[in-house]
Assembly symmetry: C2
Homo-oligomer: 254 residues x 2
């Protein structure tokens, strides 16, 4: 369980979901001391962490009835009752989702303060609920499967009335990338190969499922498909290749 | 020239760039009468069209010096002087870019009024200049080449400090799709195969170039690459397959 949580923490790091690390006071002086500094600052500056960052994966009023129903279906399986009447983790886990990231870049370049403080995760950059990407991701570690429930807002238009191919690619990268990161820590996308089968109307709730095809050294192959919410219509199929990276590489300051 | 402009008009249609068609008063009762209704309403309600929709492809204060320099480089080649001292179209054309679309969907489904009136093109859905996708596209019809100058804003973050793989895919779909549409009218994306070679720091200005590889019947294969603004560093390579579609298909009302 601890190992499992450790992996999920790594995922947040790789997905840019540790918002508090982006505050200047929290900036580690070198990658090796990230954890030490992080823990130390957590201890010495607790007031900085009294705010609760918004978890975008939780239901909001923009969610359709279908989106809520699917959320409940998986959420209820995140906790099961033990024989003694207690609670314990179930087969699925919900992955929280924030909109800020670490603000360091590889290659020795350090971003300007303006970009750093304003940077937001691409899929969570619009605050208006329901306008863009509404999604929640669940992982089943035993089955090596991820499921994402995705509701496509009106700001994702490509072909008239339908979701942009780039917005679909973004969700595939997000789901398959999260899946790879859950299994092996921080990753970078090396290849996406996407076949668009049928367009997705704006406002739809769709299911995105990913499964691990192969893991060899630093390489992870994940396949992914998008279907209508009852699974009857195939919208998009994709394969994705990810490379494990050392998180210190992303934290290096020039 | 007229044929050329006709093709570019088709591109606007396929890219959702005829904003005025989305106003309720302009909604055609059936696809066959689109042009008739459009012309009639243009004649009878000229006041509706006194506003000028924002062309997002024009320079704004958020553009970096490098972005402006590259823009000037191509823009100056959009008009050349004739021997008689007049002006005529040059080898390059700038493609205007708006943020609204036709609001009809295929398959007989008609979107709710809320989604229709609010829908925005994915790449132009944020009004704050410089925050997300800043880009301008130029086409050279004779050389069958497109060039896009793209400045990546702070809201496109994926890996810490870098552009999200989905945002890169979005730009590839946009550039290669516009290119295919310029050559053959409205298209839909059938496949994107993207190799990510090196990450793109937030705030960068990059060049995206596309060229036509093959055209067979309804199919068009376009290849695309993203490089640093001086062309020295390869960030991403991709191939894309598009299918020509009949625009009436996208206009069909159930």
């Amino acid at each position: 369980m601890a190992r499992s949580l450790g992996r999920i923490l790594k995922v947040f790091q790789s997905l840019g979901s540790l918002p508090f690390l982006s505050t200047p006071l929290m900036r580690p002086s070198a990658s090796v001391s990230l954890r030490t500094n992080f823990v130390r600052t957590m201890m010495t500056l607790p007031s900085l962490f009294s705010f609760k960052p918004r978890d975008f994966s939780l239901p909001n009023s923009s969610w359709s009835a279908e989106m809520r129903r699917l959320y409940e279906h998986y959420d209820i399986q995140c906790e099961v009752e033990t024989e003694a009447g207690g609670k314990q983790g179930g087969p699925w886990k919900r992955i929280p989702s924030f909109n800020r990231s670490l603000k360091f870049v590889p290659g020795g370049v350090y971003l300007s303060k303006i970009i750093q403080s304003k940077a937001r995760l691409f899929t969570r950059n619009i605050r208006e609920s329901g306008a863009a990407f509404e999604y929640v991701l669940f992982v089943n570690e035993e089955e090596q499967r991820c499921v994402c429930i995705f509701q496509a807002g009106h700001l994702l238009e490509g072909p008239p009335g339908h979701v942009h191919g780039g917005a679909i690619a973004t969700m595939i990268d997000t789901v398959a990338g999260s899946h790879a990161a859950i299994l092996s820590g921080p990753v970078m996308t090396a290849n996406l190969n996407i076949n668009y089968r049928s367009p997705i109307p704006l406002g739809s709730t769709v299911l995105i499922e990913s499964c691990l095809d192969k893991q060899e050294g630093r390489k992870m192959c994940v396949s992914c498909k998008l279907t209508s919410n009852d699974g009857s219509k195939l919208h998009t199929e994709a394969t994705a290749l990810f490379l494990s990276i050392n998180v210190s590489h992303l934290l290096r300051e020039g």
